[in-house]
């Protein structure tokens, strides 16, 4: 039954505490979030602190289901109002998307999804060649309800990132681990119930992953396939 529990858990975008390693990451992120909140209490208008706090809250939600996404959106909204940077906007789009996916109220979900798509699309239009912006749009598409038909947008973003990586293996250096692209693709595949494809992309991602956090996420993802 492990997989049957795992599939809905992936679809909800909530990773949950599957193992000791996962718990370790969760605690580390929670500790980091608490530290940033304390720093923000002293400097509430600090753009970098707001951005960092928003990103941590987003990770807590998107990877662990430990945040509703609204906390991340609130921090990132504040950061975006100080500096209208496309990357911040892309993070804001992903946070809205996660919040839309986890919102219980139908009208709130529609409103958040609309905001998510607008932020992600505008950021991608401003910086179409920015890998982080494209990755965040794909991640956000994963959380949005099927009725918005964003899987094609996500596929296009991921294929763009794969093509960049195929041409230059160092193109994401300093931004994110390339295995993260494979991880997002694997999750999208689960959403579309393409299980073979999900498994292959996750295996490939695990093979090239360098970052420990991404390695553990992929290992946990693959655990779901092992009975």
């Amino acid at each position: 039954m492990k997989l049957l529990l795992f599939v809905p858990f992936l679809l909800l975008g909530a990773a949950g505490p599957l193992g000791a390693e996962g718990n370790g990451d969760l605690e580390r992120l929670q500790g980091e979030a608490a530290r940033l909140e304390a720093a923000l209490a002293e400097a509430p208008g600090d753009h970098d602190l707001l951005l960092a706090a928003g990103r941590i809250q987003y990770d807590l939600g998107a990877f662990f289901g430990a945040s509703s996404g609204r906390e991340a959106a609130a921090r990132l909204e504040a950061a975006y109002l100080i500096d209208r940077d496309p990357v911040t906007k892309a993070f804001l789009g992903a946070a809205y998307a996660y919040a839309a996916g986890s919102a219980g109220d139908y009208l709130a979900r529609l409103d958040l999804a609309r905001r998510a798509m607008r932020c992600a699309d505008e950021a991608a239009a401003e910086r179409p060649d920015d890998p982080l912006v494209r990755l965040l749009r794909a991640e956000g598409s994963y959380f949005l309800p099927d009725m918005f038909e964003r899987s094609r947008t996500a596929d296009a973003d991921l294929e763009y990132l794969f093509a960049r990586y195929q041409a230059d293996r160092q193109c994401f250096a300093g931004l994110f681990d390339p295995a993260l692209v494979f991880y997002v693709k694997a999750r999208m595949s689960v959403k579309e119930r393409l299980m073979d494809q999900a498994y292959r992309y996750a295996l490939a991602g695990r093979k090239i992953a360098a970052d420990d956090f991404v390695k553990r996420r992929l290992a946990e993802f693959l655990k779901g396939f092992e009975e």
């Binding site: 607008r118 038909e149 794969f162 299980m195």
Partner: protein, 450 residues
Amino acid sequence: MKFTSAFFAGLIILLCVPLALCAAEAGEELVREILGDSDPRLSRDPAAMVTVRDIRYVLPESVDRAWVESLIDVKQGARLSVAGLDRLIARSRRKLEATRQFGGVNVYALPPVKDPRERTVVVEASAGFWFGFYCWPWDVGVSFNHLFRADKAVSLTLGLDTQEVIYYDPALGYSPFYLLLDLYNVIAPYEGKYLDDTLGAVLRFGVNLTENVALYADSAIACHFFPDSYFLFPGIAADLSDAEREALGIARPRVLLRESLGLALNFFRPYDDNRVGLKGYVSGSLFIALDDPATSYFSINSDLKLLFVPADWLILMLRNTAGVHPVRTYGYQRYDVGSMYRGVPRVSPVDVVDVVRAEASLRNLPPLSLLGVRILDILPFVFADFLRAWESPDGIDWADVWGGVETCLGGGVYLHLRTLFNMYVTLGASVSPANGDAFRFFYKFSLDLY
């Protein structure tokens, strides 16, 4: 030359498809490059033999699992090829979707993590909205699709001209057999002169022979009330005087009671890789007039529809509908041939009618979006009907039978409104060139609530 939105949509699709195909390679190439061909678990040889080790069901609590199991063609322990398993999985998914009992359906095989020769199949279904609603301008209907743990349905129509209750059991005892009981009362105009009221019942017993072929037998009884009363709607009637009857050319009133026995074969071949679809039926019925055996007759109907999708934005359809009817068949006809030839003037009553319809519809036009959400799909269509009829009035030899071709041209638009509910609207108009006053509008409206 005027460039329409359809032209641009086609152009965009033509440009995008090759780009998308090229781009789709990058991810797959990377995976192949990283993983290599060494891992047997990643093999996708369609001829490889596998065993179905387990089937898992993830269903809403309100759904009877045994009923769902009866619809799944994959069996535990079965040994078959990977391609064969894929086909059975696709067929099972379509069968579950066809029940219209679920909001979403997924059937898939899990990747072989441990043993590459074994597969686990997962069947997932989420609950749909329990009620369906539909309406015509003067009829309103509601159906409840989850009677007795989701495997039976009942629908109720209340309208000015139709009142109907249908009970449907799609899998009798979880077998391929199904049962439909339809009780109806219909008031319809007859030759534009008066209204005919028909009270009837249909008992249909059918079997799904294959995924796409169904065979069923109908037993129907109908009571036709001829216009001794002028029915406006049930419960209120106005008697016609003898003088009025004479003016309308109507015989002395009487009630006809008719039993019909019918056998029909439905088949459907959906779009495949060649983008061709075929749908049709053949049916025959024996009508027995219980009050007047002399007017008993046999009728036969056939309908063949060929669909062709030459491009993503275009659907072509060629349809032939043919029927053999007796002279002056009264009352409620449920066959398509009846509704089709009514679109063309001056052909009623008829003995034999054959209608060829050619239809083209555009799809994948840019949808209307609001705030980034796709809310309206638009599918324009045009059609041409060519009808040939052979009329055989009483007392005239078949050698004198009249034969002629009538045409009817029309077009319209099919709208799919994706609001909170799915709403489907068809609007259109048609004209018969041979008959200047035969310009008419048509419309259809339906709603999905799930």
